[in-house]
């Protein structure tokens, strides 16, 4: 295990360290990053507590809350989940041993990277064998999640457990059209949710990630979940995925897209440099062990303003032409401008063009042809165009049809990987 150099790590307060000393060594650690989640966190922590008591009654367990400065009493709700022998706790459920639930507020502004770093540090100091991170937004959590996430780590020696979900076909389009297929094509593994807010990992993987020296890098901090998954892949850790039921659709405004892309696509692009020797030699893709029911998409109607998507694509093509000239090859840009013309009645952003676009953006990101953040921002309107096409193409399809189309896109990413390699160090 890599050593945590506490003297250099200002993110652990003395009080938190004192609490960790009292917790001691644990078998199971559940980390909960929060920031003003009082409305939802109570039921989530209850489910975590119940899951620990039900599935890990004999194990030494701790719930660790890394809070970004909540002012709504979130940490207090989490700390209440502790079960110990102190007086006045007779109403608590029975446990064989003490269950710790502790909280710390990190000093920086709310950031998932800092929260994850805090949880990883706690996991290492407590020598946790199996750790889970549960998002404060996971209101659909059940007690079964604890065993689904942690059991493969604890008993089967996996290093990373990622979730798979049933999603609405209109939900997670960034995932199905970019993150999943590109991660799969690059790294050769069919990981459906490479960007997972709920996951579980082994102590050794946690330590390895904690020991990396890139925590000061804003891209790493913002996209820590993706970096974590990609680090596990590149480190050839044992990965599996488990089915977690239906992913609740969270309506998001268009303004949420760019931050989401920074956290995910930005992380994916930035990981390509250090992992080049790994991904550049991979061809094709392999399945990874998956437990639970098959993932499928939900076909109930979900309102998406497709007209607005196309408008934002068209506007983006027009307004960002000079930016695209720096990023894209002339044929790709020309083709995009062609499909963006208003007279194109049957707008279609093809899979081949989309893959070519994404790969050219990745290469541009690598070469830093302009500010990397601007590159990610510039991809947003193009993604909206692709999302429009995906929704249109799948508007009347069955679940199998949708899955078939996603699979076809994945194969396109894999087929065109030589093109990525060609432009990676070459010209546009």
């Amino acid at each position: 295990m890599a050593e945590v150099r506490l003297a250099d790590e200002s993110f652990l307060t003395d009080d938190f360290l004192r609490q960790l000393i009292n917790v001691g060594e644990v078998d199971i650690l559940v980390g909960v990053p929060t920031h003003n989640n009082a409305k939802t966190i109570g039921s989530i922590v209850e489910a975590i507590q119940a899951g620990i008591l039900r599935f890990f009654p004999r194990e030494r367990a701790a719930i660790i809350n890394a809070d970004g400065g909540s002012r709504d009493g979130t940490p207090e709700l989490i700390v209440k989940a502790a079960i110990d022998d102190a007086r006045g706790r007779s109403s608590k459920p029975y446990t064989l041993r003490t269950l710790h639930s502790i909280s710390t507020q990190y000093s920086s502004s709310p950031a998932r990277g800092t929260a994850l770093q805090t949880i990883l540090a706690a996991a290492e100091l407590l020598r946790a064998k199996a750790c889970a991170v549960i998002s404060p937004d996971s209101t659909q959590i059940t007690t079964d999640w604890l065993t689904t996430l942690l059991q493969p780590i604890y008993t089967e020696e996996f290093d990373l457990v990622l979730p798979t979900y049933s999603r609405h076909r209109s939900d997670g389009i960034l995932l199905t059209n970019l993150l999943y297929p590109m991660t799969r094509a690059l790294y050769g593994l069919k990981i459906r949710e490479p960007y997972a807010l709920d996951c579980a990992f082994s102590g050794r993987l946690g330590s390895q990630f904690l020991a990396q020296n890139a925590w000061h890098d804003e891209t790493v901090r913002a996209g820590c979940e993706t970096q974590f998954t990609l680090g596990a892949i590149a480190g050839e850790y044992r990965i599996c995925q488990s089915f977690f039921g239906t992913k609740e659709h969270v309506p998001r405004g268009s303004a949420d897209l760019v931050p989401a892309m920074r956290q995910t696509v930005g992380a994916l692009f930035s990981s390509m440099e250090p992992n080049f020797s790994f991904w550049s030699t991979k061809t094709g893709s392999q399945s990874i062990p998956t437990t639970g029911a098959e993932r499928e998409c939900i076909l109930e109607p979900l309102r998406v303003n497709r007209k607005r998507l196309r408008e934002m694509f068209t506007t983006g093509i027009a307004e960002l032409e000079s930016v695209f000239q720096s990023i894209l090859s002339p044929p790709t840009l020309a083709e995009l401008q062609r499909i963006a013309r208003p007279e194109e009645v049957r707008f279609r952003y093809s899979a081949e063009l989309w893959v070519k676009t994404v790969y050219e953006f990745a290469a541009a990101y690598h070469k830093s042809v302009i500010s990397r953040d601007h590159i990610i921002q510039a991809l947003a309107p193009l993604f909206r165009g692709r999302a429009f096409t995906f929704l249109v193409e799948n508007s009347n399809g069955s679940a199998d049809d949708v899955e078939h189309n996603v699979e076809a896109l994945c194969l396109e990413f894999e087929r065109m990987k030589p093109y990525l390699l060609e432009i990676w160090n070459g010209g546009k």
Binding site: N22, G24, P57, R58, D85, R87, L96, R97
Partner: protein
């Protein structure tokens, strides 16, 4: 050192439990005897114990190691004579050691003349001294204690062609305590031994004396009334003598056995014992503090009797299912180690022969509220033999030396009542009194030291207890207090070194004096008192305001 007059002597006793058969064979017949026990009293005096609890030594067919008594007023011929017993008793008293004997009130052997007469005919005057029935369906709510061997609490008697009641083995018919003559006769039995000079009785299986339809036939008011009557007679005729209850019950159910200080003087705290093992295995004080939180106050003249191991299996009856499963997995992985609802193992093997854990467990035994009882051989770390059947694996001969038969007997090894432990780790060549006496830091000498330290204060026997709840759950800390004497006990239940901060502000200004080495520790101030403890380490501190 003759016996001191002290009505509450049992509160400051260190009890040593021994079966005369197991201790020392003086006549070379392969079976321990009273003459042999007498010869080994110097050893017990040196160890520091001041009370001996003798397991049944009465004439018996020995189908339950003497708990099946065939004559209450005599000594089994294998162990000697009544005169031998008297001599041993006198020798013990001369050394300041009191003697507690076993009294099995609930049942006799089916070979006892009372039962033979009772079964002989329905008209026999002793017919109703036992519980007879035409059916085997009465008292069906009563649990079966020995469910590994018994299918029912009723057994068919082919002689009198009816069923008789037995809460234990079927060869142990229960006496009928609704019969006045039975109650009178059992008091006469106790009086017989009290007049000889014994200092107390360990009353076996007391919850089961009376049966009533519609109940589980345990802890009934009628049973308590009988026990109170025995106590009244004891106090009137033999003041200073003691009654110790064997009642494997929850603390709340045990409490009535103390009544208003007019029933039992002492009772074993059965639920605490397995939780001490659990706490050490879990490295978590929670099981221990929780059961002691649930333990009710008892009258000032009464006392809990604490033990780590005894002649029976480590009982798991007073545990929940989840706790019982855990204990079985943690301490009896080999199914052969399990018996009824318990684990038939000795202290040292249970603790993996880990000297640190053995010391820690004994440290808690000696410092928690109550009178400690040490099972013979555990003071040297004897092992067990699960292949001997029933509970005989923890009743093997005492290991005195590495010589012939472990120094227990001059008989041919084949004649011994049970084979000695011979494995490489616990066998008598490796574990014996002779070699441990020669080694300053042996377990035996350490046990002598901790007993001596305990005896320097009355706090452990009579003081109050207050638990501290440091945030480090691996630390079990408590303050014992009696008058102006205060002792702080801190136990590390884990296998790793621990730091702990104790809130001792109410003792601000005191200095801590470690009771074994008598070294001074820093004065208590306003800040949390920081201690570090090695794996399974414990401290006893005397608090002194100087």
């Amino acid at each position: 050192m003759p016996l001191k007059q002290d009505a509450l002597w049992y509160k400051h006793a260190i009890i040593y439990q021994v079966h005369v058969r197991t201790f020392y064979d003086s006549n070379g017949d392969g079976i321990g005897d009273f003459e042999g026990l007498d010869q080994k009293l110097d050893y017990l005096e040196e160890l520091g114990i001041n009370a001996i609890w003798l397991m049944p030594f009465f004439p018996s067919p020995l189908r339950d190691d003497g708990y099946d008594i065939a004559d209450y007023n005599s000594v089994h011929s294998s162990y000697g004579t009544l005169e031998d017993f008297r001599k041993f008793l006198g020798s013990a008293h001369q050394r300041g050691i009191r003697v507690i004997i076993e009294m099995v009130l609930n049942h006799t052997s089916d070979q006892h003349p009372w039962f033979q007469q009772s079964r002989s005919s329905r008209e026999n005057p002793r017919r109703d001294w036992y519980v007879w029935s035409e059916t085997d369906t009465r008292y069906h709510q009563a649990r079966i204690n020995f469910f590994d061997t018994e299918m029912s609490n009723w057994a068919w008697d082919p002689v009198s062609k009816s069923y008789y009641w037995h809460r234990f083995f079927s060869h142990q018919p229960d006496l009928n305590y609704d019969h006045p003559a039975v109650r009178e006769e059992m008091w006469n039995v106790m009086k017989f031994w009290l007049e000889m000079g014994v200092d107390g009785f360990r009353l076996d299986a007391v919850p089961y004396l009376v049966e009533r339809e519609g109940t589980n036939c345990e802890n009934l008011p009628e049973t308590h009334a009988i026990l109170k009557e025995l106590r009244r007679r004891l106090d009137e005729q033999f003041p200073g003598k003691m009654l110790l209850a064997e009642a494997n019950q929850w603390p709340a159910h045990l409490r009535p056995y103390f009544a208003d200080g007019d029933e039992f003087h002492m009772a074993f705290h059965f639920p605490l014992m397995p939780r001490m093992f659990m706490g050490v295995k879990l490295a978590d004080r929670k099981p221990i503090t929780e059961i002691l939180q649930q333990t009710p106050e008892i009258p000032p003249s009464c006392q809990w009797c604490l033990f780590l191991r005894n002649h029976d299996e480590l009982t798991l009856e007073m545990l929940s299912d989840i706790e019982r499963d855990y204990m079985n997995d943690a301490y009896a992985e080999d199914k052969a180690m399990r018996l009824n609802l318990g684990i038939r193992r000795r202290l040292a093997p249970l603790l993996d022969n880990d000297r640190r854990r053995i010391e820690l467990m004994n440290g808690m035994l000696m410092s928690l509220p109550g009178t400690p009882s040490i099972y013979y051989g555990d003071e040297i770390g004897m092992g067990d033999n699960v292949n001997l059947g029933d509970r005989n694996g923890v009743r093997t001969p005492m290991q005195w030396s590495g010589g012939w038969n472990g120094g227990f007997s001059a008989a041919d090894p084949e004649k011994l009542y049970a084979p000695l432990i011979q494995d490489p780790v616990y066998g008598y060549p490796a574990v014996n009194v002779f070699s441990q006496r020669r080694t300053q830091h042996s377990l035996l000498n350490w046990m002598g030291r901790i007993i001596a330290v305990r005896k320097t204060t009355g706090v452990f026997g009579s003081g109050s207890i207050e638990f501290l709840y440091p945030a480090n759950h691996r630390i079990l800390a408590y303050v014992r207090q009696l008058g102006n004497e205060t002792i702080l006990v801190v136990n590390n239940l884990s296998d790793a070194a621990q730091a702990v901060e104790l809130d001792l502000r109410r003792y601000k200004g005191n200095i801590l004096i470690e009771m074994f080495g008598k070294n001074i520790f820093p004065r208590v101030g306003e800040l949390p008192y920081l201690l570090t403890l090695g794996p399974y380490h414990f401290y006893w501190f005397r608090l002194r305001r100087i």
